[in-house]
Every structure is written in structure tokens, then in C-alpha cells.
């Protein structure tokens, strides 16, 4: 019957091992349930052509990255040069501007009419692309953030890896840095291209 006195020790050591492993993980990173599913549908205005709307169907046929960003997002600013580099390397990036005005804590969107909101958003995005360059093959603008909910967006920047058939294969949370691209994301992108 002495074995039963050892049980607490064994249980505890097991817990310590799990904690040591869990310790390396980031509790704030949530995997997307959308992986392996078709990219959710939306109808959003194009940046270049505010009066016209597009759906994800128009990008099908070739893989692309759907990059969720906003000008008020600090990490997006860090990420931007990397996106420019990726464009040079031939990566097709579709921009998804997320709550350009309403998401900006420094602005009071309540005072704006919808028209003024859109006008201001286009102004800010335009200025951003002018100074930092335009890495996007196409860019849509989600002022309300409603379409972003369908993508399970919970922060910026986030980047979805979508294959030629329009299926989400991976989601990267946080900025794409040269290191992350080299270590993890490049391989995923190449896999997307091979699949097409």
C-alpha cells in the first residue's frame, strides 16, 4: 500500500512538465477555425474604385495573402516595408483595411457622417500608400468591421494564406517580419503555389 503515498509526487511532476511546456506558448494567440475552409464571402468597396464593390471570388485562380491592416495600427507600420519586399518577390498580397476610422482610438467617429468617414478613410489610406509604397495587388476597405468578423479578425495585422481555390490554408497573427517569413511563412507560401 506504500505506492499510494507516491501518487501526489507523480501527479505533481506531471503537472510541472506540462507547465514547463505551456510556459513557452503564447496564451493570446488563437488558432483560426477557418483553416481548411473557403474564404468567407464579403462585398466591400475597392480602394481604387470606391463606387464598385468586389467579392473574394475575383481573386480566385491564384493563391494570395489577405493582409488585414489599418493606418492606426503601429505593428502594421513595422510590417509595411516587408510587404513591399514580398511584392518585389512576386507574392500576391490583397489588402484588407480594417475599421480605418472607427478603430482609431485617437479619432471620434461619432462626429462624422458616413460620407465624411469614407472620405477621411480614403484620404488616410491614400497618404499611407503614397509614403510607404503600395504592396497590394488589390485593396478593399471594411469601414464597419463587419466583414472582418466573418474572418475571425481580432487584431491587426493578421494575414490569411489563401490558395488558388479560395481556401484558407493558414493564418498568421501579428506582423510579418523577415525572420518569421524566412522561418515559417515562406514555406507555407511556396506550398500554396505548388498546390495551384
Amino acid at each position: 500500500m506504500r505506492w499510494k503515498y507516491v501518487v501526489p509526487l507523480v501527479v505533481f511532476l506531471g503537472l510541472v512538465v506540462l507547465f514547463a511546456v505551456g510556459f513557452r506558448l503564447n496564451p493570446r494567440e488563437i488558432p483560426s477555425p477557418l483553416i481548411g475552409k473557403p474564404a468567407p464571402h464579403f462585398t466591400l468597396p475597392r480602394f481604387v474604385e470606391p463606387s464598385a464593390t468586389v467579392t473574394p471570388a475575383v481573386w480566385a485562380g491564384q493563391p494570395y495573402l489577405l493582409n488585414v491592416w489599418a493606418t492606426w495600427c503601429v505593428s502594421c507600420r513595422q510590417e509595411h516595408p516587408m510587404l513591399m519586399r514580398l511584392k518585389q518577390e512576386g507574392v500576391r498580397i490583397i489588402g484588407f483595411n480594417y475599421k480605418e476610422i472607427r478603430g482609431d482610438a485617437g479619432l471620434d467617429a461619432r462626429k462624422l457622417s458616413p460620407e465624411a468617414e469614407a472620405q477621411l478613410a480614403w484620404q488616410r489610406i491614400g497618404a499611407w500608400l503614397k509614403t510607404g509604397g503600395d504592396p497590394y495587388a488589390d485593396l478593399v476597405v471594411d469601414l464597419t468591421g463587419r466583414a472582418a468578423i466573418d474572418y475571425g479578425v481580432y487584431g491587426t495585422p493578421e494575414t490569411f494564406f489563401i490558395d488558388a481555390k479560395g481556401v484558407i490554408r493558414y493564418k498568421h497573427i501579428g506582423p510579418i517580419t523577415p525572420e518569421v517569413w524566412q522561418d515559417q511563412l515562406r514555406a507555407k507560401w511556396l506550398a500554396l503555389q505548388e498546390g495551384s
Binding site: P8, L9, L15, V16, L25, P27, R28
Partner: protein, 660 residues
């Protein structure tokens, strides 16, 4: 220079702790009285040194010495002086120093006030406490030094986190730490018992007042924390099953089990290994809670600046301390088997049944807290565990525990006769259960949860009333009531008050849950909203400057439905100068029956605001219940019999070495 003195004091404390460990443990092992006395003196010295270090830290805050990083990050010249003081522990480093101070204080108290123990037992306890202190002080100086300098020193500090600029925060951490650290004392007693192989009725009597004191501090600490969350966070909740809350609740449950199982150990010498295991578990879980909170492995609303190196250090400390203790347990506990027998229907058995239920409840809270982490570690995905889980598991486990709690004191020790009590218990059950149902039906709110809660309330309070009545009846004829009352020992009163406190608490939680009402509403000045037969007239919002913030101060006039004035409430939305986050200050009107709780949301436009109105019945009982429990703990800890025991057991100074 002052900060450097703080450093020196910490270094001294480490050295003294090392002495305390060595002379305490080696002295007890070899039976050297002089060594053992040295260990006790070291414990006293450590208490003095760390108290001084803490005073130094507070002085640095009061001087606004921003060349000290901690002061620069957590205080400012505009911070009111009392919050400058509390800022000393309103952060990771300072609170860890407070932890160490509390531990040293407990050690010094054991070294100073425990004449009843044999010198060897005392030395062992002090030695083990020194070991804990040593590890903790290393953690403090290596990963969380509160006295680190900041060069160049900024002109102005960042101010204390606004959430912590609050009276509740002044007393909550010290109380909780006293409780956490108090578990270290029972832990030390348990380890000393394992080391010496001596664990008799005397051991239980020594350990019990310490355990009760630790438990009452935990109770108070948790209660004040809950109270603080209730009025400060602005959503009117009082318990969120948040990891940080759970981290304090798990040791509380285990300590509650411990202070009951130790009774069985004292009476029957039985289940001693179990009692020791509970003592080890309570302390381990306190440490584990610290790890969870400080390492950032689990997300919680209480965001302490987390730092991986700290987490790793605490995990290491945890692994070593608990691993060694449990190994010691595995090796020595078989010696503690034995003890007297008792029947199923006895007070001992019900105490132990409750022990099992408490432990299972503690496991439920622990699992709910760490499960997301475990799943993630095993690569099984991310999930959340929140209130629905805890309620679903906790309630079924605690319901029978509370049920037995009210029966147990009626039972005889060793063996009772079911027939002696059966008729009455069944009758009581029927009466209380149907009374609860009738009350709820009268209030037109019959749900299973409300019924269960109300029944348990009646069951416990009725049981308490009857228990007191019977106790008075049983006394010899001819004694006056006051004579009879004064003859009841402190430990009995403690039990009675604490059990009554459980009933009072359940009543508060049940009625609040069943009858609270909330309304989020957009209001323009002059508009009226109605909730729970009160009328709320919104008078608008004006700007009002504070010492280190600017507030938007709303005015809401509360009247009854027929227009009688009730209160004028001023909820605030504060913008602290040094932090970007807006703070919600709820306004509360309290009577014994209900709180009216109003908090300001956000402006909708120039004119309208979102206002959150709450009607919260019986909130006061949520705090009154734990308060009764804590008073009960204090009364029991001060029981005269423990003191008489001391006089009886006191060892002549010359004979100390012989007893080892």
C-alpha cells in the same frame, strides 16, 4: 543611497535566512539547543531586516525618488501620498517584497510566540520557513529587484495604475499575502512532522491556531478582493472565476479542508498522512497561484507585468519545494498510518466526507484554471473555461458539503446512532426545503438554483440556531444563560460563527443571483429610466478635475416609483493624466437590503450617454458571510484551551535538549 540600503538589507535577509535554515534543521537533527536558539533568533532578525527593507521601499515612494525604476513606473509627484504608500505594493516587485515580509513576520511570530512547542519542533518549523524565505528572496533579488536604479532618472513618474488607486487595494494585498504566506507555516509544521516522525495530538493543537489564522487572512483577503472588483471594475460582478481569483480560492478550499481534517487527527490520531498532504497542498497551491499569475502563462484580468524569467524561476522554486516535500511525504508518510477507529455515522466521518468534497471542489477550480494551458501544451487546441463550467461542477460538489456541514456538529464523536437524529433531520429537511420553495413562489421566481441556494441558507441558519439552543440546553441545571454561554469554548464559537457565515454568504449569493437586474440604456439629460421599481433621472455629465485625473462626473437622481427621493449618485469616468486608459468609477447606494449601482458607459453623441443601471439585492451579505467566517476563525484561533495547553506543555528551559 536609500535604495542601495534596501539592496543591502535584502542581501542580509538572504544570509540570515540561510543561517535560519542551517541552524534550525541541523540543530533539531543533532539536538543542539544553542543552534536551535540561534535559528529562532535568526528568524526574528530576518523579520526585522525585511520590515526595514519594506520601510525603505515605502520611504522611496514617499520621496518620489524616480531614480528607482519601481518608483518611476508606479508613482508620481501628483499621486496622493496614501497611494504613494500603497504603490509600494501595487506592482510585481513590491508585492513580492511584501510576500517576503509577511513570511518573515510569520516566521518571527512562530519563533517568538510558540512556547508550547518543543524546542526541536520549533527549530524545524523555523528552519523550513527559512528555506522557503531563502528561495523567495533569491527570486526577489535575481528577477524582481524592487530597488533597481533607473538611469537617467525621469523628471516625473508614470503614476500608479488607476485601478489600484483605491482603498480596497490598500488592504487587499496585505491580507491576502498574510493568508498565502500563512499556509507556509502549516506547511512548515507538516514538514517538521515528517522530518521528526512526530505527529500527535499536541502537534495538531500547535498547528491549529496557526492554520486558523492563515485561513482567516485568506478569507478576508479574498473577500476584500471580491468587494474591490465589485465596486471598482464597474460591471457589478463580484466573482469572475478569473485565474487570479482562483489562485487564491484553491488554497482557501484546501485550507478549509485542512482545518477540519486536523480535528480528526487531533481527536483520533487518524488520517494523519492526509492532513499532512493537505498542508503541503495548500502551500504548493499558493505557490502555484503565484506562478500562474506572475508568469503570464494564463491570461487574466489582473494583468501583472509578466516576465518569462520570473515564471521560470517560480516554476523552478515550485518544482524544488513541492517536489522535495512530496518525495519526503512518499518516504515518511507511511509512518503516520494508524490511529483510532470511528464509525460511518460519526462527526469524524462527516468531517472527512467534507474533506473529500472540498478537495474535489479545489481540484475542479484548479482544473478549470489550468486546463486551457494543459490543452495548449499538449497541442490539443485552445479553449476557455469560465463561469458556466465552474458553476456546473462546483455547485454539485459543494451542495452536499454544506448539507453535511450543518449536520456534523450534531453528531457524536466516534459513533452516533442514526435513529437518534433521523426523525429530526428528515423533519428539518422537509420544513426548510418547502419553506424555501414557498418563499420563492411568493416572489414568483422558482428556479432550481434559487431553490437550492435558499434551501441551503435555511438549512444552515436553522441548524445553527438549533445547535446553539441544544448547546445551552445541555448545560447543567441552575446555570444562568450567561454562565452557560461563557462556558462554551472558543473553538466551538468559531465553528458556529464560521458555519453561520457560510449560510449568510449563500443567502447573499443566491438572492443576488436570482433577483438582480441590469439595464444598459442611452440617456440624455432629463431622461428617466426605470428598473426594479426605482426611477433613475439622468441630469447630465460635467467635467470635474481630480488630483491626478480629470473626471466626467454624471449625476443621476434615484427615486422610488412614487417619487420619494432615494439617492443622488455620481458615477465617474476618469482620465488619469499618466495613463491613457479611462477608468470607470461606479456610484453605489447601499442599504442592508440592496445596492443601487450606477456606472457611466460612453457618450453616444454630444448629448446622450450610455448608462449602466444595476439593482443588486442582498450584496451586503456577500461580505458579511466571509466576515463572520473570519471572525469565527479568529475566535477559534484564540481558544483558551490552546493557551492552557501551552502552559501545560511548556518545557523547562533546562530540559529542552533532553526531549529531542
Amino acid at each position: 543611497m536609500l535604495a542601495e540600503w534596501g539592496q543591502v538589507l535584502l542581501a542580509q535577509a538572504i544570509a540570515v535566512a540561510a543561517l535560519q535554515v542551517f541552524f534550525g534543521l541541523a540543530g533539531a537533527q543533532r539536538g543542539r539547543v544553542a543552534w536551535m536558539v540561534t535559528a529562532r533568533r535568526a528568524a526574528l532578525a530576518q523579520g526585522a531586516v525585511l520590515a526595514t527593507a519594506f520601510a525603505v521601499l515605502i520611504a522611496l515612494f514617499l520621496r518620489s525618488d524616480f531614480s528607482v525604476a519601481l518608483v518611476a513606473q508606479n508613482s508620481s509627484t501628483l499621486t496622493p501620498w496614501f497611494y504613494q504608500v500603497t504603490a509600494a505594493w501595487g506592482n510585481h516587485e513590491g508585492s513580492m517584497l511584501m510576500w517576503a515580509v509577511a513570511l518573515a513576520g510569520w516566521s518571527a511570530a512562530v519563533a517568538w510566540r510558540s512556547q508550547a512547542l518543543t524546542e526541536a519542533m520549533r527549530a524545524r518549523v523555523v528552519g523550513v520557513l527559512g528555506l522557503v524565505s531563502f528561495g523567495f528572496l533569491l527570486f526577489l533579488t535575481l528577477t524582481s529587484n524592487p530597488f533597481s536604479r533607473l538611469v537617467p532618472a525621469p523628471e516625473q513618474g508614470r503614476d500608479l495604475n488607476p485601478l489600484l488607486q483605491d482603498p480596497g487595494m490598500i488592504i487587499h494585498p496585505p491580507l491576502l499575502y498574510m493568508g498565502y504566506v500563512g499556509t507556509a507555516v502549516t506547511f512548515a509544521f507538516a514538514i517538521a512532522a515528517l522530518l521528526s516522525g512526530r505527529m500527535d495530538a499536541a502537534w495538531s493543537r500547535w498547528a491549529r491556531p496557526w492554520a486558523l489564522t492563515a485561513w482567516l487572512f485568506l478569507t478576508l483577503g479574498i473577500m476584500v478582493g471580491s468587494w474591490w472588483a465589485y465596486y471598482e471594475l464597474g460591471w457589478g460582478g463580484w466573482w469572475f472565476w478569473d485565474p487570479v481569483e482562483n489562485a487564491s480560492f484553491i488554497p482557501w478550499l484546501v485550507m478549509t479542508a485542512f482545518i477540519h481534517s486536523i480535528i480528526v487527527t487531533e481527536k483520533r490520531g487518524a488520517f494523519r498522512a492526509w492532513t499532512v498532504l493537505l498542508a503541503i497542498a495548500a502551500f504548493s497551491l499558493s505557490l502555484l497561484g503565484t506562478f500562474l499569475v506572475r508568469s503570464g502563462v494564463i491570461t487574466s484580468v489582473h494583468a501583472f507585468a509578466s516576465d518569462p524569467s520570473r515564471g521560470l524561476f517560480i516554476l523552478g522554486l515550485l518544482a524544488v519545494t513541492v517536489g522535495v516535500s512530496l518525495a519526503l511525504f512518499a518516504w515518511r508518510a507511511p509512518m503516520l498510518a494508524g490511529g483510532g477507529a470511528f464509525g460511518w455515522f460519526s462527526r469524524e466521518a462527516t468531517l472527512l466526507v467534507n474533506n473529500v468534497l472540498m478537495s474535489a471542489a479545489a481540484l475542479a477550480v484548479l482544473l478549470g484554471t489550468v486546463y486551457p494551458l494543459l490543452m495548449d501544451a499538449l497541442g490539443l487546441g485552445k479553449l476557455s473555461v469560465g463561469e458556466p463550467y465552474f458553476v456546473a461542477v462546483f455547485v454539485p460538489l459543494m451542495t452536499p458539503a454544506v448539507f453535511f456541514m450543518a449536520i456534523s456538529p450534531f453528531l457524536r464523536w466516534k459513533q452516533d446512532d442514526w435513529r437518534r437524529l433521523s426523525k429530526r433531520l428528515v423533519l428539518d429537511f422537509v420544513v426548510t426545503a418547502s419553506a424555501a420553495l414557498a418563499l420563492l413562489a411568493a416572489a414568483d421566481h422558482v428556479t432550481l438554483r434559487a431553490w437550492l441556494g435558499l434551501w441551503l441558507t435555511l438549512w444552515v441558519t436553522w441548524g445553527s440556531a438549533r445547535l446553539l439552543w441544544e448547546r445551552l440546553q445541555n448545560r447543567a441545571e441552575g446555570q444562568s444563560i450567561s454562565e452557560r454561554l461563557s462556558r462554551i469554548p472558543g473553538s466551538w464559537w468559531g465553528m458556529w460563527l464560521a458555519h453561520l457565515g457560510v449560510g449568510v454568504f449563500i443567502m447573499g449569493a443566491t438572492l443576488l443571483g436570482a433577483f438582480e437586474a441590469r439595464l444598459d440604456v442611452k440617456m440624455a439629460p432629463g431622461q428617466v429610466a426605470e428598473l426594479a421599481s426605482y426611477r433613475f433621472r439622468f441630469q447630465g455629465v460635467e467635467e470635474k478635475p481630480g488630483p491626478n485625473y480629470t473626471a466626467m462626473r454624471g449625476t443621476i437622481v434615484v427615486t422610488t416609483a412614487d417619487g420619494k427621493p432615494v439617492a443622488v449618485l455620481h458615477p465617474e469616468k476618469r482620465n488619469y493624466h499618466f495613463s491613457a486608459m479611462p477608468m470607470t468609477e461606479a456610484a453605489i447606494d447601499t442599504t442592508w437590503r440592496r445596492d443601487i449601482y450606477v456606472s457611466l458607459g460612453d457618450p453616444v453623441n454630444e448629448n446622450e450617454w450610455v448608462v449602466m443601471l444595476f439593482y443588486k439585492p442582498m450584496v451586503l451579505f456577500l461580505w458579511l458571510g466571509p466576515l463572520l467566517m473570519a471572525v469565527g476563525g479568529a475566535v477559534a484561533a484564540l481558544d483558551r484551551r490552546y493557551r492552557r495547553q501551552r502552559a501545560h506543555l511548556a518545557v523547562p528551559a533546562g530540559a529542552v535538549g533532553v526531549r529531542v
